[in-house]
Structures are given as C-alpha cells and as structure tokens.
C-alpha cells in the first residue's frame, strides 16, 4: 500500500511537471505579450516593465525561474494588476470556486445515484422512463445553454432567484443547477445500468435466499457493487466540473478562480496563467489519486499492493 502511494506520488509530480512545461511553452507560443495592447506606454517604459518581470531574459532562463516559482509556490505579482500577487488572487478565488465545485459534485452524486437506483428498481415502469428522459436531456444540453435558460426563466421571468453574483445561498442555486445537471445525468444513467446488471448477479440471489429484506439487499449487497463504475468515472467528472466552473463563473459573474484564469489568458498575464494552471492541475491530479485509493478501498479485489490474494 505504502509503496503504491509513493509510486503514485512521484507519478503525480511528473504529471504536474509535464503540464506546467506544456503550459509554459504554449503560453509563449501565443502571439502577443502582456504589453502590446497598451498604446500609451512608450518603448522605454515597456522595456523597463519587461525587465521587471524577467520577460527580457532568454526563454530557458525564464523557464527555470518559472519552475522555481512552482516549487516555492510563489508566482509573484500579477502583471496587469500590479497591486495583486497571483497567490492573493488564488487565495480569494479558490474558496468560491471550491464551494461551487463541491456543491455541484454533491448535488450531482446524490441526485444522480438516487435517480439511477430508483429507475433500476422500477425497471420499465413510468418512473424509469421519466428518470431516463430527464437524464438524456441533462446530458445533451450544454451547461452554458442551461445556465442562460435558468437565468431567463427562473431569475428574469419568474423572479424566484437572483440571476448573478455569489452573495448568499440563494445566489448559489442557479449556478449549481446549471453545472450539476450534466454530471447528474451521467451518474444516473451509469448507476441505473450498473444496478440493473448487479441485481441479476448470483450473490443477489444468494442474499434473497437468505431471507434478507429488499432494503438490505439493495443497500448492502447491490449498491456498493453497482457504484464501482460511478467511482471510476468520478475523476473524469471532476475534470468536467472544474472546466465547467470557468464558463459558469463567467456567466453568473462569480468571482472565483475561473474568472482570474480567463482574464489572465485574455490579458496575457503570464504569472496568472501559470499560477492558475499549475494550481488547477495539481488539484485535479490529487483528486484523481484520491479516487484511485477510494476504489481500492471499496473493492477488495483491486490490489493496491503487489502481494496478497491467492
């Protein structure tokens, strides 16, 4: 187990390194620089600025400085907002994005699994068809379309909830709906099909032959096995929710990390781009790692270490 974790840890570091390197070179490959929009500044000022942010140095040197900033986790000041450091932007944006993300995942998991299980238990009944129709709609409608739709209908027409920003629990409902519906639908469909398959397994027959109650059979014997595939897609789903937050934060004017990330790219604010990217990827890679461990805990047949078993 420990050996596995250590191995995975180094793999994680390597992944982050590769992402960081790619980001660096891609970023430098995009035409333009942080300063060429500013017509007002003259050549001397620009040179001084470039010197200040080390942009006059050759690329390899910049790369090494960049790697250093990753290791120390200090990305320096933002170029476009000189009063802010990248770290302070992250510190302000992350809790908000995390709040949106965690609620989204929770809502998607709980409603998706419930919908899937109910549909499977009422296989080919009205509830099943209804749930799966909702699921197909949820998968096929992109989150930004859903976002505009709920803003129009629920916020503007019905005036039930605020349309934007992030000030109170009421403000959180629409963005979470917009972001969670897709993952919820995916989870519901997966849970349903996996549950249907699990219910035909021999060990379910054994459990029935023991005289266990239907509730115990579903919860203790079926659900745990049926949720295995859901756990495997959790990583992908997480990545989806993460990228989804960029769009949703933009639409709902939520001051999360996505806002700074998109802004950073638009303004070629190199330290901000690098800082947010490295932060996002580290976070995601760590989550994937946790999902893997969780899978091993849920299914004893998955060996996290070499020895054991027959």
């Amino acid at each position: 187990m420990l050996k596995y974790i250590v191995k995975r840890f180094f793999l994680m570091i390597l992944t982050i390194f590769i992402i960081a390197t790619l980001t660096f070179f891609l970023m430098n490959a995009i035409p333009g620089s942080p300063f060429n929009e500013e017509k007002t500044s003259n050549a001397v000022v620009q040179q001084n600025l470039e010197k200040h942010f080390n942009l006059d140095k050759p690329l390899p040197v910049q790369y090494v400085l960049y790697l250093k900033s990753i290791i120390t986790f200090d990305f320096g000041p933002s170029i476009k907002q000189p009063t802010e450091t990248v770290n302070s932007l992250l510190g302000r944006g992350f809790p908000i994005s995390a709040e949106l993300g965690i609620w989204t995942i929770l809502v998607a998991l709980i409603s998706g699994i419930t919908l899937g299980v109910v549909a499977a238990l009422r296989h080919n009944k009205l509830i099943d068809y209804t749930a799966m129709t909702i699921a197909v709609l949820g998968i096929s409608i992109p989150n930004f379309v859903l976002a505009t739709l709920v803003i129009q209908v629920i916020a503007v027409d019905l005036k039930l909830l605020p349309a934007a920003t992030w000030n109170s629990p009421q403000h959180m409902i629409l963005p979470i709906i917009a972001l969670a519906t897709g993952p919820m639908a995916i989870i519901a469909r997966l849970t349903r099909s996996s549950m249907l398959e699990t219910l035909t397994q021999d060990y379910i027959k054994t459990a029935r032959a023991k005289g266990l109650s239907p509730f115990k059979i579903v919860v203790k014997h079926a659900l745990r096995n049926a949720l295995m595939p859901v756990v495997t897609i959790l990583g992908t789903l997480l990545a989806g929710v993460l990228t989804g937050t960029f769009v949703i934060e933009k639409i709902f004017a939520i001051p999360g990390m996505g806002k700074y990330f998109v802004q950073g790219i638009n303004q070629r604010d190199y330290p901000v781009i690098m800082g947010t990217t490295v932060f996002y990827s580290t976070f995601l890679v760590m989550m994937l790692f946790l999902v893997d461990i969780m899978y091993g805990v849920l299914d004893p047949r998955i060996k996290l270490h070499k020895k054991g078993g027959e």
Binding site: Y203, T206, A209, G211, L212, S213, H221, R224, L298, P300
Partner: protein
C-alpha cells in the same frame, strides 16, 4: 416418515417477448424428513425453476407460478406473502446455487456474509454470531476459520467457496437444503469431497436435501430417491435402486446408457439423439415422442397415463398401459 415437502401440480411460466415459456408443467414431488431427493434431467428441463419456486425465488416478472401448491409442513408456500416467505428463507429452507465463484458478494467479508442471515432472523449478539459462524466453517472443513472470517471471497479457491456457501446455508439450521447443481462448476476431485460433505452434514444435522444435477454419477452416491424430469414434467420417480436397476421410462433408460457407470464396465455409451421440445408450445402427447425409440402412435397425441409401479416408483409412459403391452407382444 414425516413428509416435510409436498409439491402438487406445479405450473410455472415465463412471459417473454417470444411468448409464454411453460418451464414447469405439472410437477408432483414429495420429500420426507432426513431424505435426499435428487432431481435429474437435461439442461433446460425445469429443474432450477422447480427448485426456485419452492422459496418463491423465481424472477418475477417474467416468472409466475400459474397453478399448483407447495406445502412445507402445514403451510402452502405459494400462497404466502413476500414478507412471510422471507421468514422461511434461510431459516427453514436454504438454497445453494451452482457457481460458488459468483454466489458470494465480492465486496463483503466471508464472516459478514456468514453471519448476516443469523442476525436477520435470530436475536443474537455479534459475538455469538461469529462464534457460530466459526463453528460452521469448522464443520464444512475450512482450516483456520477465525482468520478466514475476515477475508474476502476472492481469497478462496472454488471448492473452499462452495464450502463457505454450504456453511452459510446451514447456519440457521434449516430443515430443508436445496442444492442446485452444487458440484457442476467444480473439478472432479473437489466434486467428490463436496458430495462427501453433504453426506456428513446430513448425518450430523438430519437435514433433508433436494439435490439437483444433470449428472447421474453424482446422484448414485448420495440420493435416496431420484426424480427424472423432462420438458417441465417429472416423467419417472423411484428409489435409487429402482431408477438405476429397473428404469421403466425410455428417457431414464437413455440417460443411464449415456453416462459411464462403475457397475457396467465396458458397456458402450449411447447418447440420446435429438433435442427436447420447444416449451413455447409443448406437444400435447408425450414430450419424448420425437426422440423415443419405442414411440407408438398414441404417444404423439395423448399424454401418457401415470402409472404406480410400486410404493415408490411412478412413471408417465404409454408402455405401461396393458394395451401397449399387447401391442408390443404382437
């Protein structure tokens, strides 16, 4: 001896897209205390459906008991509510399925699966349940039961898993054990060990056993009586002696000729040609007609008379009719 199970005129159908499959078409069977009854017959003849019907374990839908009764002691199991039948399952009657590799839940420990039935049905502390489970594992011959309780099914071999399944079935001390092809998925040497285990258990606990198999070699060792099924019906039943040495139904005779037997060394094995009839529209006459070497005109159109040959042997075949005997003689 006391009768503990009495199945009368059992009919079971499955509604499928292709129509109604009449899987079981009027089965009569009974079982006495401490007895081992074997049900034999080719794959698809309705053995598992008959056995699963006893505890209402047929998948429903599509399956349904359309007619008949199953009396266990004084109660008709077919008329019981789902809630009441759950109190019978695992307590009075237990069932073992064919494949030990899939019969246990891969994500739960063996100990958990062994004790959950006890905990469900009896007021018992976790500690006592564990003790009882360890005792049971000892009985079925699992070494180091205490440590093994904490392990998961994948850490056991197929034969060991079947022993666990048997221990699980016996833990509430049922009066009837139904074993559906319990040795089919196992190696030959392991098969013999498991059959010995059944013998030992019956001696120690006095449990009645219904043993389902398509292998006559298996029943030769442990069955007291044998019921031969064909196309959803019991076509011949008798003691082991009667079935092995005085089989009257041509299908039973065919079955015996198609398996190797220790007492008839050197005899050629003769397979039964052809396939069983379609159960969507079973023939109105004898279902064996198309494959029967002794078939007569009447066989195709009228279902054969049920004949009692002795206190224990019964057969459904036109050859038992006086008129057929004359017909054959001439």
């Amino acid at each position: 001896m006391e009768k503990i199970l009495d199945i009368k005129d059992l009919h079971v159908s499955f509604t499928t897209y292709g129509g109604e499959v009449q899987a079981v078409r009027g089965v009569n069977l009974d079982l006495h205390k401490g007895e081992t009854l074997a049900i034999v017959g080719e794959s698809g003849c309705g053995k598992s459906v008959t056995a699963s019907s006893i505890m209402k374990l047929i998948p429903s839908p599509p399956g349904k008991i359309t007619k008949g009764s199953i009396h266990f002691k004084d109660q008709d199991l077919t008329k019981m509510s789902n809630k009441d039948i759950r109190k019978i399952r695992g307590v009075d009657i237990s069932m073992i399925f064919q494949d030990p590799m899939t019969a246990l839940n891969p994500t739960l420990t063996v100990g958990d699966q062994l004790t959950e039935g006890l905990k469900q049905h009896k007021k018992i502390s976790s500690h006592d349940a564990n003790e009882q489970a360890i005792e049971m594992l000892n009985l079925v011959g699992i070494p180091n039961p205490k440590e093994r309780m904490k392990q998961h099914p994948h850490q056991f071999s197929g034969g060991m898993r079947q022993r666990i399944v048997i221990a699980m079935a016996l833990i509430c001390e049922p009066e009837l054990l139904i074993a559906d092809e319990p040795t089919t998925a196992l190696d030959v040497t392991i098969q013999a060990q498991i059959l010995q285990l059944f013998n030992k258990i019956q001696e120690q606990t006095g449990v009645s056993i219904i043993l389902i198999t398509h292998d006559l070699g298996v029943v030769a060792k442990i069955a007291d009586r044998i019921a031969v099924m064909y196309a959803g019906k019991v076509i011949e039943v008798g003691t082991r002696r009667e079935i092995f040495y005085n089989p009257q139904h041509p299908y039973t005779q065919g079955l015996l000729n198609s398996v190797p037997r220790l007492d008839q060394r050197g005899d050629q094995l003769i397979p039964i040609n052809g396939t069983p009839p379609d159960l969507f529209s079973p023939p109105k006459g004898c279902p064996f007609t198309a494959r029967c070497p002794k078939a007569m005109e009447v066989c195709e159109n009228v279902y054969p008379v049920h004949t009692k040959l002795s206190d224990t042997q019964e057969v459904d075949c036109w050859l038992q009719d006086e008129r057929a005997k004359k017909y054959i003689a001439t």
